[in-house]
C-alpha cells in the first residue's frame, strides 16, 4: 500500500523527532514543576516581598503567548547578550526548554497553590498546635494531601507542555512537528505524514494519560 510505504520510509526521521519531543517535554516538565513549587510557596508566604515576586512571575509568563516568549529568548535576548557565543551549540534547545519551563511553570504555580489551599485549614492548625513549624507542616502534612488533588490538573498541564513543544519548530529545533514538515517539503505527502505525526503524538500523550490513571488508582487505595 502506498500509504504504508510512504510512512515507513519517513518513520526513522519522525521517530527521531519524537525522541527530541519527549526529551524537551521531560526537561521542561521537571523544570516547570520545580519553578511552580517555588513560586507557589512564595505566593503563600507571609513575607510580602516573596508574595510580590510570585505574583509578578505568574503575571508575566502567563500573560504572554508561549510563541512570543520563545521568540523573545531566542531572537531578542541575543541582540543584547552574546548568547550564541556562550551557549552554542546548545543555545537553541536550552532557550526552548527554558521558555517552555517558564511559561508552564506559571500555570503550575497556580495549580499547586490551589491544591495547597484546598487542604482543610484544620490540618495546618493541628500540625502547628502539636509543635511543628511552618516547613514541617508543609512538608509532612499539607503537601502530601495537596498532591493527590493536584494530579488531574497537573497531568493536564504536562500534556499541554508536550503539545507546546511543537512551537519549538519556530526556532529550528527538529522535534516531531518540524520533522513532519521537513519530510513533506520534499515528498509533498501531506495526508500520510501528518496522519503519522498525529498518531505518534497521540501515542505519547495517551501513554502519559495511562500512567496518570494508574497513579491515581494507587493513591486512592492508599489514602482511604
Amino acid at each position: 500500500m502506498n500509504f504504508l510505504a510512504i510512512v515507513s520510509a519517513a518513520m526513522p526521521q519522525l521517530l527521531y523527532g519524537a525522541r527530541l519531543t519527549i526529551w524537551f517535554s521531560i526537561a521542561a516538565i521537571i523544570l516547570a514543576t520545580i519553578l511552580g513549587l517555588i513560586f507557589a510557596l512564595f505566593k503563600l508566604s507571609s513575607i510580602q516581598l516573596l508574595r510580590k515576586i510570585g505574583e509578578v512571575y505568574v503575571h508575566i509568563f502567563r500573560g504572554l503567548p508561549l510563541l512570543v516568549e520563545i521568540f523573545y529568548i531566542y531572537f531578542a535576548l541575543p541582540m543584547v547578550l552574546p548568547m550564541h557565543r556562550w551557549f552554542d551549540p546548545y543555545f537553541a534547545p536550552v532557550a526552548g526548554v527554558i521558555a517552555l519551563a517558564l511559561n508552564e511553570g506559571a500555570y503550575i504555580t497556580e495549580i499547586i497553590r490551589a491544591g495547597i489551599l484546598s487542604v482543610d485549614r484544620g490540618q495546618t492548625e493541628a500540625a502547628l498546635s502539636i509543635g511543628m513549624n511552618g516547613f514541617q507542616t508543609m512538608r509532612f502534612i499539607v503537601l502530601p494531601q495537596a498532591f493527590k488533588r493536584m494530579i488531574p490538573p497537573l497531568v493536564n498541564q504536562f500534556i499541554q507542555t508536550i503539545k507546546d513543544t511543537s512551537l519549538l519548530s519556530a526556532i529550528s529545533l527538529s522535534e516531531l512537528t518540524r520533522q513532519g514538515q521537513i519530510v513533506i517539503s520534499t515528498t509533498f505527502a501531506s495526508l500520510q505524514i501528518w496522519t503519522a505525526v498525529a498518531a505518534i503524538y497521540l501515542a505519547v500523550i495517551l501513554s502519559l494519560t495511562a500512567l496518570s490513571s494508574y497513579m491515581e488508582r494507587r493513591l486512592q487505595i492508599d489514602k482511604r
Binding site: 531572537f75 548568547m83 552554542d88 519556530a170 526556532i171 514538515q181 521537513i182 517539503s185 509533498f188 501531506s190
Partner: protein, 266 residues
C-alpha cells in the same frame, strides 16, 4: 436520568450548527467564484510575503515583482485575483488540494515540484548564493563543511544543504529568522536565493556580504494547480503577451533596475 435527553439534544444541535457553518462557507466560496457568462474568472492566488523584492508586505498591502506580474497577467487574461498569504512550505500542498489555484513566491522550477504542480514558463532567472558576515573566512560552498547554515524550510537552499554532508542545517519558517540567526551568531552563513540576499544587503545591512558567486542556476515559475490545466495555458499566454509588448521588461526594471542577471530574454 433526565439529563441524557438534554445532552443528546445539545449534541445534535451542535453538530447541526457545525454542519450549517461548513456548507454556508462553501456556498459563499462558490458564489464569489461564479462563472456566469461575461463575468471574470476568479483565481485564488497565494503568496508568501517574506521574499523581497518579489513579494513583501508594506503597510498591510502585499506588493512586489511577483505580485505585480500576476496582476498584470490577470489583467491581460481577464482574470480576477483573490490574494491570500501563506507560509512557503504550505504553498504546494495548497495547490495539490486546489485550496488555491495559483502560487507565486519566487518558486524555483524543479522536477520534484513539477510532479505535484504545473509551472508556467520561467519569468526570472535566479541562483543561490551564500551570505556571511563581513569578517567571515568562508569563501565558497566547500567552506560550509562543519559550519552551521541557516536556511528557509522547503526552499532549494534547504534541499541543497540537506544533501551536503557535514553541514549543520538550521531550518526556519521565514528567511528573516534565518538572517537574524546569522546576525546573532547562531549560524555562520545563510544559503538563499541571490536576489533576496542582495536586497537584504541593500536595505541597510552592510555588515554582511555574498561570497562564492551564484552556486546554481534556477528559474522561477508561477505554480498552478494540476486540476486546472486551462488556467496554466492562460497564464503562459498572458506572460508571453507581457514579454512581447515590453511590459515584462518594464516591470522588471522597476524592481531590478539595470541588473540584467534575472531577465528572461527571448
Amino acid at each position: 436520568m433526565r439529563k441524557w435527553p438534554v445532552l443528546i439534544v445539545v449534541l445534535i444541535m451542535g453538530l447541526v450548527l457545525a454542519g450549517c457553518g461548513n456548507s454556508g462557507g462553501k456556498t459563499a466560496g462558490t458564489s464569489t467564484g461564479g462563472n456566469e457568462a461575461g463575468k471574470q474568472e476568479v483565481i485564488k492566488v497565494a503568496a508568501d510575503t517574506t521574499f523581497p523584492p518579489f513579494e513583501m508586505e508594506v503597510n498591510g498591502k502585499v506588493t512586489g515583482f511577483d505580485i505585480d506580474l500576476i496582476n498584470a497577467i490577470a489583467a491581460k487574461e481577464n482574470l480576477k485575483v483573490q490574494m491570500q498569504t501563506m507560509d512557503f512550505q504550505g504553498l504546494i500542498p495548497a495547490l495539490q488540494t486546489d485550496t488555491v489555484d495559483v502560487a507565486v513566491a519566487g518558486i524555483t522550477i524543479t522536477p520534484q515540484r513539477a510532479q505535484m504542480v504545473n509551472f508556467s514558463n520561467p519569468y526570472y532567472h535566479s541562483g543561490l548564493s551564500i551570505l556571511v558576515k563581513k569578517d567571515s573566512n568562508i569563501k565558497g560552498v566547500s567552506d560550509l563543511k562543519g559550519k552551521t547554515v541557516a536556511v528557509k524550510l522547503g526552499t532549494t537552499g534547504d534541499i541543497m544543504m540537506s544533501k551536503m554532508p557535514g553541514v549543520n542545517v538550521k531550518r526556519f519558517n521565514n528567511i528573516d529568522d534565518a538572517y537574524n540567526e546569522l546576525q546573532n551568531g547562531g549560524a555562520q552563513a545563510v544559503l538563499f536565493d541571490n536576489p533576496v540576499n542582495q536586497n537584504y544587503i541593500n536595505t541597510g545591512h552592510n555588515n554582511v556580504k555574498v561570497v562564492g558567486g551564484l552556486l546554481t542556476g534556477e528559474d522561477y515559475g508561477i505554480a498552478v494547480t494540476k486540476q486546472k490545466p486551462e488556467l496554466l495555458k492562460k497564464i503562459n499566454d498572458g506572460l508571453a503577451r507581457l514579454m512581447a509588448s515590453g511590459e515584462y521588461e518594464q516591470l522588471y526594471r522597476k524592481y531590478f533596475k539595470s541588473d540584467d542577471s534575472g531577465l528572461i530574454k527571448k
